[in-house]
Structure formats: C-alpha cells, structure tokens
C-alpha cells in the first residue's frame, strides 16, 4: 500500500475528492435499488390490506433493538471518522471494530428472527419466502439489507489495519457514508415491515 495513497484521494475536479464523489454516486444508485423495492412494497401493501395480518408475525422488539444497534454503530463510525481526521488512528481503529461488532449483533438478531420463522415445526409460524408475497418482500428486503451489512463489515475490517498504520485515513469517511446509508435503509424497513400492522 502506497504511503501517498491513490490519486482519488487528492484529485478534486468537482470540489469533492473523487473517492467521496464516487461513494455519493454509489449511494444515489442504491436509492433506486432499495427505493424501488420499498416503492413496490408500498404499492402492493396498499392493495393488500390483509398483509397486516402477516406483519403481526414479525418481532417488533427484535426490529427495534436492531434499529438501536444500527443507530449506535452509525455513531461509532462517525466517531472513527472524527478520530481519523485528528490522526488518532488507534482510536479510529477501535471505533471501526466497535462498528463491526454492531453489524455482527445486528446479523445475530436477524439470524434469530429468520430461524424462528424458517425452522419451526408449527405450521402457523412457518414463514418462508414462498409462503406469500408479503414474506417474499420481507426476505428480499431484509436479506438484501443484511448482505449490505456484511459487505460493509468486510470493507471496514480490510481498511482498519491500514488505518492503524496511518495509511489512507480518508477511507474511514467513505465507508462511513456507506454505513450510514445502510442505517437509513433500515430506518425505513423497520416501520414498513414491523410496525405497520
């Protein structure tokens, strides 16, 4: 890894470093991915009032706890960014791993929720992606979101060790922007899938 870092870290033709601009573009495209899914869900939900009867099978406390976990991990990554700006790389490293820990807790809760629906002997509680369109949406939206959480955790782990040596500290901000977006997606999935009965 070069001490100077890639060209994207210093070039700024648009007033924003190219790397950060690229992340904003990525997030703009992600708006279509998750936004399209959520828009379709809302349209179908309005046409299918009986979906409220399926939503009672989601666990509000688990969804609320996961919202708390993601909001807290968002705080950790912005504190990591703050520390990286101040060149306190050990502190930034620590907060990145706290964020990864938050992602792990989120996934464990998700696993608990999934397993309670997929691996049950009670036919009333058994909910698979093929049960009906509500559960197809549920597993597609939360599964795609969980994949984004995993991707963010892997990238954070990869950049953390370079960061500890003082290399490429700007990457903390870039992965932070992505992580906050993943948090925002969950902020919408929680009321849509868990609260609206």
């Amino acid at each position: 890894m070069s001490m100077q870092g890639p060209l994207a870290t210093s070039r700024s033709a648009t007033g924003i470093p190219t790397g950060r601009l690229a992340v904003w573009w990525l997030l703009a495209s992600e708006i279509f991915i998750f936004g399209g899914l959520i828009a379709c869900y809302i349209l179908y939900r309005l046409n299918n009032p009986w979906w409220g009867g399926e939503a009672v099978f989601t666990k509000v406390p688990a969804g609320a706890f996961n919202t708390f976990v993601l909001l807290t991990s968002s705080l950790f990554i912005v504190l990591a960014h703050d520390a990286a700006e101040k060149k306190d790389f050990d502190r930034a490293f620590k907060f990145i791993w706290y964020t990864i820990g938050g992602g792990l807790v989120f996934l464990l809760v998700k696993y608990y929720e999934y397993s309670s629906k997929l691996f049950t002997d009670d036919p009333e509680l058994l909910k698979t992606p093929l049960t009906n369109t509500y559960w197809s949406f549920y597993y597609t939206a939360t599964g795609l979101h969980a994949l984004h959480v995993i991707g963010g955790m892997v990238i954070m782990a990869l950049i953390s060790f370079d960061l500890r040596k003082g290399f490429n500290p700007h990457r903390v901000e870039l992965i932070g922007l992505y992580w906050h977006f993943v948090d925002i997606v969950w902020i919408f999935l929680f009321p849509l899938l868990y609260i609206a009965k």
Binding site: S29, L43, I184
Partner: protein, 116 residues
C-alpha cells in the same frame, strides 16, 4: 473530509435519534391511523434527515450532492406514480383481479385480516 467545519455533537444527535426511535414505537401502539403514519413514517423521515445531515455531513457537503440524491429520489417517485395507475386500479377485461374480488389463494387464509 467534507471541508473544514465545526463538528456537531455526535452523541447528542445519537440521543435524539434514540428518542425518535422510542416515539416511533410507542405512537403506533395507540392504534390511531393518522398517528401511526405520523410517528412511524414521519419520524423515519426526520431520523433520515438527522443521519444524513449530521452523521453523513451533508450539511457541510457541496450543495450539488443534495441535488444528486434528491434527483434520484424524485426519479424514484416518477417510477412509483408511473406504475401506480396500473397496480392500484384493477379495472379491465383482459386480466383477472383476484385482489378486489377476494379470490386470491393466499387471501383465503384470512377472514377480516385474521388468520383462519
């Protein structure tokens, strides 16, 4: 970084987000439809604003990034309303509307929203 700017108090923003989370859970429990919409979805928009403006530093970012994100959202709205006419209005002779006449197989499992 997003230019030289005074950093907000991140912990205060986080506490505010947690308060909003509690309100968004308690509000729908009261069972009032307009309050559910306001607390569940209205507060989701407020939470999004705080995360974007302060954690993502959009308030300190070049203004065109707001436009970049808003244009994406507006185009998504065009998609939403563009297809809503087809999805929501179930008249016509060339397709069967099992939703409005309540004959979809998966609807048969429910009576008045309750599982049979």
């Amino acid at each position: 970084m997003a230019g030289a700017h005074a950093h907000p108090n991140y912990v205060k923003i986080w506490v505010l987000l947690l308060v909003l989370l509690v309100v968004s859970i308690i509000g729908p429990e009261l069972g009032i439809p307009w309050l559910t919409l306001l607390t569940a979805f209205g507060i989701a928009l407020v939470k999004t604003y705080y995360v974007a403006a302060y954690f993502m530093h959009l308030n300190f970012e070049k203004k065109y990034v707001w436009f970049l994100l808003l244009i994406s959202t507006v185009l998504l709205g065009v998609f939403f309303f563009g297809v809503a006419g087809d999805v929501m209005k179930a008249d016509g002779q060339n397709w069967q509307d099992c939703i409005s006449n309540n004959t979809c197989a998966e609807q048969q499992r429910y009576v008045d929203g309750q599982l049979r």
